[in-house]
Amino acid sequence: MRTKTFSGGIHPPEFKELTEHLPLEVMPPTKQVAVPLSQSLGKPAKALVKKGSEVRTGTLLAEPDGFISAPIHSPVTGKVVSIAREVSCNGYLQDVVVIQPAADQETDFFPPLDPRAATTAQLLERVQAAGIVGQGGAAFPTFVKLSPPKEKNVDSLVINACECEPYLTRDYRLMLERAADLLEGARIIMRILGVQKCLIGVEDNKPDAIHKLREIAGTGGIEIVPLKTKYPQGGEKMLIKALLDREVPPGKLPLDVGTIVQNVGTAIAVHDAVVTGEPAITAVLTVSGKGIRNPRNLVVPIGTAVRDVIEFCGGIHDNAVRIVVGGPMMGASQHTTKTPVVKATSGILVLTEEEINKAAETACLKCGRCVSLCALNLLPGRLARLSRLGRFEEAERLSITACMECGTCAYECPAHIPLVQWIRLGKQAVLRMQRARN
């Protein structure tokens, strides 16, 4: 049988050899953490602490504001120094709770739950109270995803273990080191959703992770499915296509085709929240790139500044030119290293000219690479041109809003045209247009 996958996509150099052999290390708290109140999609949380408040590791710092919002807990034991404004890794100014860690660290976790004895309502409530957000990129509050409307018929859970972004190896390390917790987390989510089937999609460049998971998966309805290594397989729509052969229509969600996708890190966070009572207070991330002295896989307290993480990894080489939070294909470059790590941070990359491979832009040669590689069957070259010319109505008709901004087109363009960058711009304009219309 052929290894499952989706059509289109690319296979960029993986660069995973820099960190894949390195076990996860826990990074101790630095002399100050700045915990953002907005770490997920939706409204920022409302602060419950003020200057001078004493907090322990796990203490609730801020409560959710509305349905799509997630609570924030303290990653350290210490004293709140201030509520300040800091730039997020996406470039927005946001409120942060600045905490100075004390010498003695104490935990203030939830009471552990028995995942089998607890009711599904209790489990779901714990996922919400623990502030778990999706680790796959969009940082959607997990409990919202796990509370699908009743009319949606969800029959399966998909665990996204592709880790298709180059460099990143944190999901891989989690699978090797915490395989049992991952499976238990998946079982808890299956209970919450009331589904009997769970597919864990792992790309075939991680054979030992596939082997390890299969060894202990048992017969509880969890199946580990190897997928042909290809970017952007970690995109929800591509993964669902590869595993279930279902296509999520443009503008629709996975639950519209009867499934829900959770990332490896999210499932483990669910396990931790239920079994040990630990809320979401750490980010598991890969620090890599040819510009960092000592690449590592780390467990970092949220709120730790990017520069502290970089320093913990020995600092940067002189030829470093770009610092990226997230993966190299979809992550955000940083203009300052003061930005704090958040729950969904998957990597910090320090890149050099050699890896980035810049070149002067030329005219489009209509080679058609972007068209044949686009996993969503869009016309990237055309959409980028329409965006550049400000012809947004035409771009809208050609489904510009369906673009997931995976960057495949820009990576491949021989003319070095910033295709996805123009499309991103056009997409925002079209979305604004649509909002104005309604």
């Binding site: 600092g315 190299p328 470059s333 030329t362 209509k366 080679c367 058609g368 044949s372 960057g407 070095h416």
Partner: protein, 322 residues
């Protein structure tokens, strides 16, 4: 390293851009030079078959094409982009479509038309509708019809001039043997005679990912289908489909001209339609037209349909209703 140091160090030189932060090792010039490299086997074959002195045509064409590009870019106040290799490639391709012994002055005129009218009138690199080299050749065909159809004999044949395999068939009802046609020991344009050399270059381009296999495969299967249909009508009068495949400029066109990125469709289905269309037109011209060969016109005609083909072969957006 102190935090402050890291901060000052990075603040001053960190690049702020949007994702993706990686790019593969492709560039426009790399593609152009790889295509040029793929022309080496058939160019070498041309010089062996028709004599080393034919290098004059190549040089005249390439130099004129490059000079035209530079002059026009200067006049248009654009950066001169000879290093992207596209003008050299246009000149090179044009030379390979010309008859051995063709006048160097006429060659230069053809190259000037190719780059000037074929490419820059439409807006320069990436904007031309038609294959520039073929625009140059079409001009020469119209301007110097006799010179363009006077065929020097290959070095390994004992006559001064000789018919091309297609011409011989059309006007004298004599078919050439397929063996020499495969190796290239027949009359014809400089770069078109050796099927072997063209295939080596073409397979290389498909392997490195420059040429999309769909266009040559569509053209090849199209010619076999349409050629067979005609052949079956009267096997005594009409050439076998393999004769179409090896004769004239078919392989040069299928591998190096029709596959020109700019003037061919971008969608997979479009490439099939485009290739089959060229095959149909070329068989019709060769069998029913007044000319023995129709490759150039077939490609130029289908070039004109490319915007329409692209428009009607848009792939269905992932997940959208059919």
């Amino acid at each position: 390293m102190a935090n402050e140091l890291l901060e000052t160090q990075t603040m001053t030189r960190l690049e702020l851009t949007t994702s993706p932060h990686l790019h593969n090792n492709w560039s426009t010039s790399r593609a152009m030079w790889l295509v040029s490299a793929a022309l080496l086997p058939c160019t070498a074959a041309a010089l062996i078959i028709f004599g080393w002195e034919q290098i004059g045509i190549l040089l005249a064409s390439i130099v004129s094409a490059a000079a035209t590009e530079a002059v026009i870019q200067k006049l248009r106040r654009l950066p001169v982009t000879l290093d992207d290799g596209s003008a050299v490639l246009t000149g090179w391709l044009l030379a390979l479509t010309l008859p051995p012994g063709f006048s160097l002055v006429s060659t230069a005129i053809g190259a000037i038309v190719a780059v000037g009218i074929g490419k820059h009138v439409f807006g320069g690199l990436g904007y031309n509708i038609f294959n520039p080299a073929l625009v140059g050749r079409a001009f020469l065909q119209a301007a110097f019809p006799v010179a363009m159809t006077t065929w020097k004999s290959p070095n390994f044949v004992d006559t001064i001039t000789s018919a091309t395999p297609l011409g011989g068939l059309k006007f004298d009802a004599t078919a050439s043997a397929l063996g020499p046609m495969f190796l290239g020991n027949t009359g014809g344009s400089l770069g078109e005679t050796s099927a072997l050399a063209l295939l080596i270059g073409g397979v290389f381009l498909i392997a490195v990912g420059i040429v999309n296999w769909r266009i040559p495969v569509a053209m090849g299967s199209g010619v076999l289908i349409f050629g067979t249909a005609v052949w079956l009508m009267d096997t005594q009068v009409y050439p076998s489909p393999v004769y179409h495949l090896l004769g004239g400029g078919f392989l040069l066109g299928a591998l190096f001209m029709a596959t020109d990125w700019v003037s061919s469709p971008v969608t997979g289905r479009g490439m099939w339609i485009f290739g089959l269309g060229i095959a149909l037109v070329v068989v019709v011209i060769r069998v029913f037209g007044g000319l023995p060969e129709g490759m150039m016109y077939a490609i130029l005609i289908m070039n004109a349909f490319v915007p329409m083909i692209d428009r009607y072969t848009r792939p269905k957006v992932f997940g959208a209703a059919a």
